[in-house]
């Protein structure tokens, strides 16, 4: 059956490509390069087609075709802006007319900057500062105080202080301002420097934890790929 044949060909192709890709761990070679370029081409072609299918056709081409026939899916002014902006952006293809597209890339940069600011403030800074309320386990502290377990309440305070110190010193580590000292390296205020030193330890610990996460994710990918190869080898030998 052709579909069976196709799926078997797929498995063999996938196994071969996996094998070649993994061989890069032992060194670069021309066959790996071929696979690399194949990958870049496929990924780009797929991404380009999805951009057309999902965005450009429904957002630009179809509305324009319909407008041509007198049916307006979207407001004419909006449509005109879309067409003009798109046309200006396409001028970037021409070396001589590329500058005409600058206002459009400027628009993208403006939108990008605004989204960055909005995301940073509403998505990162304020939620993270807000999350600091959980640094000290207030409920446990209250219970300990009410029950007269002062040792336990001190433990809550100590734990919270360490966690708060981790956040604060990490933030302080990045303080950039310093005072010039002639030919000596610039110096930050001593308090900032001390806090920054503590912060650097926390930062390194964090980076190590995150690095371990990535390493384990990569190891998992390796296991999945090798398991696939073992499976294919078993299948081929079984036949």
């Amino acid at each position: 059956m052709p579909s069976d044949l196709l799926s078997q060909a797929g498995i063999v192709a996938a196994a071969l490509l996996t094998l070649i890709t993994l061989s890069y761990a032992f060194g670069d070679h021309p066959v790996f390069r071929i696979v690399l370029y194949l990958f870049i081409g496929i990924a780009a072609g797929y991404a380009g087609a999805i951009a057309i299918e999902d965005v450009i056709l429904p957002q630009l081409v179809f509305p324009v075709l319909d407008a041509w026939n007198g049916v307006f899916q979207i407001a004419p002014a909006d449509l005109i802006v879309r067409v003009v902006l798109s046309a200006l952006l396409l001028l970037k293809l021409s070396p001589r007319a590329a500058n005409l597209g600058n206002p459009v890339t400027a628009l993208l940069a403006g939108v990008g900057a605004a989204l960055a600011i909005g995301g940073a403030v509403q998505g990162t800074i304020l939620p993270q500062v807000g999350a600091a309320v959980t640094t000290f386990n207030a409920a446990q502290f209250d219970l300990a105080m009410q029950g007269g377990h002062y040792g336990e309440s001190i433990q809550v305070v100590v734990e919270g202080t360490i966690l708060l110190l981790a956040t604060v010193s990490t933030l302080a580590y990045f303080h950039f301002g310093a005072t010039a000292r002639g030919s000596q390296p610039p110096l930050r205020p001593i308090v900032v420097d001390g806090l920054a030193w503590v912060g650097s330890i926390f930062i390194v610990i964090t980076l190590a934890t995150l690095f371990a996460g990535v390493l384990l994710a990569a190891l998992s990918a390796l296991i999945e790929r090798l398991s696939f190869l073992v499976g294919v080898a078993n299948m081929l030998m079984g036949q």
């Binding site: 500058n99 900057a113 981790a166």
Partner: protein, 205 residues
């Protein structure tokens, strides 16, 4: 023919659009306008992606033409055109694009991720070559704890790591990550504002 658009136009567009979107994000009432601008931006980003495709094509077409490693570049071009054409024709959920994605793209991409396991191990193993100070020791020490806390090693369970030291390291890193994230947020805020102030003009202004 003069083809240059004066910088003030681009700068004005970036600033005006940027502030409009920012204000619409911060105060209610301008959602329609924001959505309108975002729709344009999404469309323009998609067209920019096609220009990226054209750039990739041009670079490699030139390499083929100039006989500069033409085999590699022609493989890229053929793969790109075939995938592009078939995906456009059948849709991304079509049988052939799915086959290409599942059997060609995915194995290579997950394979590259798998290679990272080796690359990162090598990087960590060579870490002391470039950094043998206190921070180097702290990094390798914390890395060991985090790794040993993840699973049994060679089939052996190490409860001291999985249940005691690991959680402590995790909890510390969560708090420090918060500091890092706030810092990244501050940097992002300042960088975005520089664009909105027209002090940075990466669009050629």
């Amino acid at each position: 023919m003069r083809t240059g658009i004066r910088a003030p136009v681009s700068t004005a567009v970036a600033i005006a659009v940027g502030f409009l979107v920012l204000i619409s994000l911060l105060i209610p009432g301008l959602e329609d306008l924001r959505n309108q601008i975002l729709n344009w931006a999404i469309l323009l980003a998609a067209i920019a992606l096609l220009l990226g495709l054209a750039n990739l094509f041009q670079v490699h077409f030139n390499k083929v033409r100039d006989r500069e490693k033409p085999v590699y570049s022609s493989i890229l071009l053929v793969a790109m055109l075939v995938t592009f054409g078939l995906t456009l024709w059948q849709g991304s959920q079509g049988d052939v694009p799915k086959w290409i994605f599942n059997n060609l793209q995915l194995p290579i991409e997950t394979g590259l991720m798998a290679v990272l396991a080796v690359s990162l191990t090598i990087a960590a193993a060579r870490f002391f070559q470039s950094r043998s100070d206190l921070m180097g020791f702290v990094f390798i020490g914390a890395l060991f704890i985090a790794l040993l806390a993840a699973a049994p090693v060679f089939g052996l369970e190490l409860p001291i790591f999985t249940q005691v030291v690991g959680p402590i390291i995790n909890s510390l890193s969560i708090s420090a990550a918060r500091g890092l994230l706030i810092g990244v947020g501050l940097g992002t805020l300042a960088t975005g504002l520089r664009i909105l102030l027209g002090a940075d003009r990466p669009y050629g202004g």
